[in-house]
């Protein structure tokens, strides 16, 4: 039965790949009329398009998974972020070009080594409730201090605490002191006494009513992007939150708002309505009066509803994109713009499989694996229309991190070379494999120092190895249909490039908690995962990938990489810091310790909104402030014109920053 399913899947995969060759290609953006426009022509064309439009003040959109809770400190759900991004303002926010501009903070400054950041808060702002009425509570510097106080208490169960807890001076020790008291490990002080020390020991202070100062454990030139990306840096009216206890933000009526919108109606798992905050400090720039969310659980329904005018936005998967070609909607299909999440192969350097263990610690073998992958074919599974746009060879995403001269981090040498390498070189892969075999096997194909044994990867799988070639590799993926097809493709590529005489690539589809059951206990040889650039600094990912880093799931040992990370963290300028990080990342990727291959970008969308009118939230979530909603859907031709004009304006804005 398993074999039958495997054959069926393989046939499906081959058919789908063959079909890809006949798919229509997206127009090359460089050859579209808009791309060749002069800047002033593009700006004029934009004005001309907008002149003929009428605009709506209601935007209808959807969510596809539950909004479990609005508690922005403790929720694990990414979907909550979008609501919060529009309802609770942070200290700063990006403008439409991604340049940080004042939000609740009117101004800010940092010391020379960027370890102390001081923000001057707007005066006279009040928190509002779910009816839009002003409350007695003013928005002050203390609210930002109290936000950190809230997340610093383990009893409040703050989520994704690691970065902020490690960065703010004293917060790590404060958190663990409370935890030790709670667990009974520390008995010589009381919880009340420990909590009372917060203002003294934690590096966040309300200097006066409208000035908040953060003292950090290390230089953080990326601090503003962290404010954008992390909900943990948002303010809270502490007295109000504490009075609610566990009920804080469980729905729209149990929270307060200080952003452009408030949640005026909330029906769990069904509908959410955002209404413009009548007292908002920047209400002149709030263009949409009401944002109506409704639950639409699948893409097909949202697409149909978009066609019927019941929603102003829909995502369009690649399959639907193809089915819309030749219809009246073909001109409205727009490519999604970016994803900072990278898919990569994680390799197990300390697992129980002695054959793989021997080989994976050999540089030639790792390079054989790297050069055996045809990334474009892999990308075709996710993005059959234009697979090249999702290829990625680096861990940190391109377009995510820029130095002060506007140079993209991934264009720093030697990372740039990694980024531009074509790793689809099966002959080179075979040569590397033969070199590895020479180093690791005797002339009879016995792997030196490797005995026959049974590998116990239970509960995932268990299998026998004979200590001889071919090297048995256990690839573990989920039982998701798309992932199984991807695994089949890995197998076909690797066995074909390196040779089935040398590699026996076995696939184990496992349903369940892949991290807790597969990755953490090292029950795999190769597995597939993703990482995302969370803010404008490579440290977000790379410091977690050191030999003793939390993200070193495969347990490799890379002192050279660790040393480069240390140098980057000690760098005196941001450019120097990026240079060391780029060298470190290039070392990790170039030597095959991890194998990034595609981004998580996928699909297309259709929309009634004018592009580039919302803040460019690279690390945070969509903000509706400033968004213009048309009464008819945007066309690709119009999008190209907007894009051409925007690219020129953004380049100038970044230069001027």
């Amino acid at each position: 039965m398993k074999r039958f399913i495997a054959i069926l899947l393989a046939v499906a995969m081959v058919l789908s790949l063959s079909a890809c060759q006949f798919l229509p290609k997206l127009e090359d953006p460089d050859t579209t009329p808009a791309a060749t426009m002069q800047p002033e022509d593009a700006a004029n064309a934009v004005d001309k398009i907008l002149e003929g439009k009428t605009f709506e003040n209601v935007y209808k959109t959807y969510f596809s998974s539950s909004y479990a809770s609005f508690n922005y400190y403790s929720t694990a759900y990414a979907t909550v972020r979008e609501i919060i991004a529009n309802c609770i303002d942070g200290l700063v926010e990006p403008n439409t070009y991604g340049v940080y501009v004042p939000s609740l903070a009117e101004s800010w400054k940092s010391n020379e080594d960027q370890t102390v950041w001081t923000f001057k808060i707007r005066e006279g702002l009040k928190w509002i409730d779910h009816t839009g009425k002003e409350t007695e509570y003013a928005v002050t510097a203390q609210d930002f201090v109290d936000g950190i106080r809230y997340i610093g208490d383990p009893l409040n169960g703050a989520y994704s605490l690691r970065v902020v807890r490690n960065l703010i001076e004293g917060l790590y020790d404060y958190y663990w002191l409370l935890d030790d008291i709670d667990s009974g490990t520390v008995t010589d002080t009381t919880r009340e006494d420990a909590v009372a020390t917060f203002d003294e020991v934690v590096g966040v202070k309300a200097i006066d009513e409208y000035t908040v100062e953060y003292t950090l454990t290390s230089s953080a030139p990326y601090f503003l992007s962290l404010i954008e990306s992390s909900m943990l840096m948002l303010p809270v009216e502490y007295e109000y939150a504490m009075s609610l206890g566990e009920d804080f933000a469980i729905d729209n009526e149990h929270m307060l708002y200080c952003g452009a919108y408030y949640v005026s109606a909330f029906e769990r798992d069904k509908a959410i309505t955002l209404t413009a905050n009548p007292n908002y400090w920047d209400k002149e720039n709030v263009t949409i009066e009401t944002v109506e969310y409704q639950m639409i659980p699948d893409g097909t329904t949202s697409l149909e509803m978009f066609k019927r005018g019941e929603t102003d936005y829909t995502s369009v998967e690649a399959e639907a994109y193809l089915s819309l070609q030749g219809t009246e909607w073909a001109d409205n299909l727009l490519p999604t713009s970016h994803s900072f999440s990278t898919n990569y192969l994680w390799l197990d350097f300390a697992g129980e499989n002695p054959e793989f263990n021997k080989f994976i610690n050999n540089e030639n073998f790792r390079k054989a694996l790297m050069y055996s992958l045809n990334r474009e074919s892999l990308a075709s599974l996710r993005e059959p229309v234009d697979p090249k746009r999702i290829l990625r060879n680096t861990i940190n995403a391109e377009g995510a991190i820029y130095d002060s001269n506007g140079v993209d981090y991934t264009d720093y040498s030697p990372l740039k070379e990694i980024k531009e390498t074509d790793y689809n070189q099966p002959e080179l892969a075979k040569q590397y494999m033969e070199a590895a075999i020479k180093e690791l096997c005797d002339e009879n194909g016995n792997i030196i120092g490797c005995e026959p044994t049974t590998v116990d990867y239970l509960p995932v799988c268990s299998f026998d190895v004979d200590g001889k070639l071919p090297v048995t590799i256990c690839y573990v993926g989920t039982d998701d249909e798309a992932e199984i097809i991807m695994a089949q493709l890995f197998k076909a590529m690797i066995e074909e490039s390196i040779g089935a005489d040398y590699i026996d690539f076995q696939i184990q589809a496992y349903s369940g908690w892949t991290y807790g059951t597969v990755a953490d206990p090292l029950n795999y040889d190769i597995y597939f995962d993703s990482l995302s650039t969370g803010y404008a600094d490579p440290s977000g990912i790379l410091t977690r990938m050191t030999t003793d880093g939390a993200e070193n799931v495969g347990k490799y040992n890379v002192p050279e990489f660790d040393a480069l990370i240390e140098k980057a963290l000690a760098a005196t300028t941001f450019e120097e810091r990026l240079q060391y990080f780029a060298e470190a990342e290039a070392y990790l990727c170039g030597n095959g310790f991890v194998i990034p291959f595609i981004s998580s970008l996928r699909g297309y969308y259709m929309s009634y909104s004018v592009p580039y009118t919302s803040p460019l939230t690279l690390y945070g979530n969509t903000k509706y402030k400033g968004t213009l909603v048309m009464s008819e859907p945007l066309t690709k031709a119009e999008f190209d014109v907007f894009e051409a004009a925007y690219d020129v304006e953004r380049a100038e804005a970044l230069k001027a920053n």
């Binding site: 694990a76 383990p154 690691r162 069904k270 659980p297 953490d520």
Partner: protein
């Protein structure tokens, strides 16, 4: 009768306790990593995770957790959701979700019974003729074709042809039509199939032949004698069906974005939301035993031949 009710109540209570304790203890055997979403596992270190679990009381001895849960239960506190709707009181969740699901469930059950029994009668009345063939065709389609195919067809195309909403909207009555129809398709087929089967079976009994020979009109025999006897095996399921209208349908609620209980238990089990699983299992266990109990009483009420206790 009083003795019977007391005996059944005690048996039912024991069943509920066994089911509940077994589920409670089984949940504690699940891996601790299951309490965290995938990205949270990657984001947090072991110490932070253990701190979170300890603060939630999940590291306490299972027996201590059991007694704490029961203690809270007696104070009317069902606890809070752990992972699916973090910190939201379970009583709030159920109060929000059960009425929606129950309204859909009751409407579709009513539709299912009325149309299902009517179709069953039609099939028997016109046995081996057009009515029967039509009914058999319907039953075959509903039972043989994977439901997603026709459900999806109804949602996309029927909604388009009749200008009906594609998803449920609380304040839009027309948005109830398609989900209720979809929910009742299966039960219409079920009632029709079994009623036809039982009625055809009854038709061959001697008392029916005797009634016909005596000159009673076939229509009257069908309605007054055959139907009455054939309905008895179906009646036993009615109380359970009625009580379980609150369990909802995972597929249809998801398709029409109905914020009900369909799939809540599955999601809770997958996310290891112990508190939510415990409450739902307890609720379903109680409803099951009540349903079976009421089914027995109802059968005894409609069929005088059935006695629940032995005659003295």
């Amino acid at each position: 009768m009083g003795k019977y009710i007391l005996k059944r109540t005690l048996n039912s209570l024991l069943t509920v306790i066994i089911v509940f304790v077994a589920v409670f203890m089984l949940l504690r055997l699940m891996p601790l990593s299951g309490y965290f979403p995938q990205d949270m596992l990657k984001e947090t270190d072991e110490a932070t995770r253990m701190s979170y679990l300890r603060n939630q009381g999940l590291l306490d001895h299972p027996v201590k957790q059991l007694f704490r849960f029961i203690g809270n239960l007696f104070q009317g506190d069902l606890g809070r959701s752990l992972t699916v709707y973090p910190k939201v009181p379970i009583s709030t969740l159920l109060a929000e979700k059960i009425p929606v699901t129950a309204a859909f469930g009751f409407s579709s059950m009513l539709l299912g019974i009325v149309l299902g029994l009517s179709l069953g009668l039609l099939m028997v009345r016109f046995k081996d003729r057009w009515g029967d063939r039509l009914g058999t065709g319907y039953i075959l389609i509903v039972r043989a074709i994977p439901n997603l195919i026709y459900l999806f067809f109804i949602q996309v195309w029927i909604s388009l042809w009749f200008n009906l909403p594609m998803v449920f909207k609380k304040d839009l009555p027309s948005s109830w039509i398609l989900p209720v129809i979809c929910l009742s398709l299966g039960s219409i087929a079920w009632y029709a199939l079994w009623l036809r089967r039982f009625m055809v079976d009854e038709e061959n009994r001697d008392y029916v032949k005797f009634a016909l020979v005596k000159g009673l009109p076939k229509k009257q025999v069908l309605r007054r004698h055959i139907f009455k006897n054939a309905i008895i095996p179906l009646v036993i399921y009615l109380p359970s069906d009625l009580l379980f209208i609150i369990s909802g349908s995972l597929v249809i609620e998801s398709l029409y974005a109905i914020p009900g209980t369909g799939g809540l238990l599955t999601t809770a089990i997958k996310s290891q939301d112990n508190n939510l699983v415990q409450v739902i299992v307890l609720m379903y266990a109680v409803l099951s035993v009540i349903g079976v109990f009421l089914g027995d009483l109802l059968v005894a009420a409609v069929d005088p031949r059935i006695k629940l206790t032995e005659e003295e």
